[in-house]
Symmetry: C2
Subunit: 76 residues, 2 copies
Amino acid sequence: MDISEETFIINLGIHIRQLREKKGISQEDLANDCDIPRNQIGRIERAEVNTGIRTLIKIANALDIHPKELLDFSIK
Amino acid sequence: MDISEETFIINLGIHIRQLREKKGISQEDLANDCDIPRNQIGRIERAEVNTGIRTLIKIANALDIHPKELLDFSIK
């Protein structure tokens, strides 16, 4: 069964927010660690952007996880 | 240890090519299934582009796998 892009991106944003908060890192600190604009993490967590794989790799590195873990969540 | 963006994207392209060939689907058919330009799959497989999450979801749907499986490979 196909996964809806919108649903997946919303769940991805929620998942990234949960991973970030579990590490106790602010959106701003994560953005700095990723060397991306400071408002970009909020936009990703709110599912406002079509995030590129390069940014996903940077976020995974900053959170000290494998990139595949960013996409590893159950769809709500 | 941080994963290099370049290395990851190269391995992602190889992995997508392998998944596609295992299903016996041409680049052109996969592009059509994803409703993306016909040369885009080749560019992704050759690691020439910063693929967005929306395209990754489309590719996963077309290959009938979960998006996280696209990122599930060992780095060479």
